[in-house]
Symmetry: C2
Subunit: 308 residues, 2 copies
Amino acid sequence: MRAFPPRVRVVEVGPRDGLQNEAAAIPTEVKVAFIRKLAEAGFREIEATSFVHPQRIPQLADAEAVLAELMSPGSPPLTTTFTALVPNERGLDRALASGIERIAVFTAASDTFALKNIGMDVRASLDAFTPLVRRALDAGLTVRGYVSTSFECPYEGPVAVERVCEVAEALLAMGADEVSLGDTIGVAAPSDVYTRLEHLLPRLPAANLALHFHDTSGTALANVLAAMEMGISTFDSSAGGLGGCPYAPGAAGNLATEDLIYMLDRMEIETGVSLETVAAASALIEGHLGRAIPGKQYHRILAALQRA
Amino acid sequence: MRAFPPRVRVVEVGPRDGLQNEAAAIPTEVKVAFIRKLAEAGFREIEATSFVHPQRIPQLADAEAVLAELMSPGSPPLTTTFTALVPNERGLDRALASGIERIAVFTAASDTFALKNIGMDVRASLDAFTPLVRRALDAGLTVRGYVSTSFECPYEGPVAVERVCEVAEALLAMGADEVSLGDTIGVAAPSDVYTRLEHLLPRLPAANLALHFHDTSGTALANVLAAMEMGISTFDSSAGGLGGCPYAPGAAGNLATEDLIYMLDRMEIETGVSLETVAAASALIEGHLGRAIPGKQYHRILAALQRA
């Protein structure tokens, strides 16, 4: 038996990274019920929304309303930290006004992807985030950083690992306590995970790294296994696999939280998250999406419930 | 970087294990075209059909016709060995008459599953296969053995690894050159693979073992990775993931060949199989199934072709 971390922290990103790609407009109260159910499942951290400009992602235009409801005095007490993506100073103003304790900033390891997604090249994004992160820290918030295209870029192809290292180091240096490295287009295999981490881990502490896999190729759990063997113990995932690129049945974007928790439960790696409650959260949102969500364990749990 | 086998043998089981669960009647000529395209993809071994009683699996009632066409003098020369499942002496008569060079016998590690699927308990099946395998070997054929429910049984729950070992040993002892251990209900995680193989490998040579994973839980490729780390270099898979239990979009039974080949290609583990040609075979059969097939890479390749 290989050595694996005794416990893994799973960061639930479905409400933000999942829903932002969904076409159907989800009512605020449904999002709140979804996020509350996820919190009940036991996540310590849930990325709840984004303070991106409402015209850019209309789905998340209700960020203030969602957070106000989640953190309202009448809410049941929760041990979950809610985070929100913050793209710029205006977003940080909104985040500070909302009362959340943790934000995330998002850049990439390849310039073309960064330019198309956040309107700045990587260097410009790091320059913009430096004072933003300083201001967030000064206000008592903590910060997570995302490095998308940490394996390949859809426009530039393979991305040099040295570049990933530099961007991750810059985010940690400016004050982020965790950097999430994304396989944005879902092409990585375990060999990529081994070789990238062999390069990164001498320079970046495993405790400050999260991996964010997409299951487009079906390799996400194999990649998690490889990363755990290398000492990584934080992974992002999305309830039901929300955030897929639904060009075909079975196609998937984000790694489905239920699939991840199933494997970790079965390996007796502690997560503190209830698989069944995550599936209940996914079921709650599925009816509002106008499409079936892709997660395999989700469907397995649903089928078992329907037989019971 | 971990040590992995430099090459892996992939046994394509879609035409038998995949199609036998499909409701739509597939014309013989479509099956032949599908199998020919798979052979063209480079598999050294394809399980083409089954000599089960035609009333039991009507889908495979055309076993003789399929094999006659594949092995007809006018066919392009192929380096592929076609195998057929043989459930009993009558099936072996048919197999011998067909001219194939390799057969497979199918039992389980749990009695309830064996009784429900082949009408005999495990002991009775081994007793029945002993003279059958002898006769096949005497006729110059080679034999593969399947041990289904090698992880869990849908009726009995967890299956003792000692039981799996005994059944696999019995099949090798009677003359099978390879035993394929099946995670029939798709529940295994890498921890199961490590612990089972730690128990089995001191008694069974890795070179005589294949693993047959189902992707019902999304763990199949992680399990392949774990098995390769333990020295296993033969895996069964099904083109497009045929043979799923299609209760929901994204639900999957057999590990999709394209997903397996993608991961192995990316890890620079040689298979001799062309991913694109497998996907072409899957596309050829999909139109006749009345449902979308689940494989993730298959859909990815298809989408890329449609954009091109």
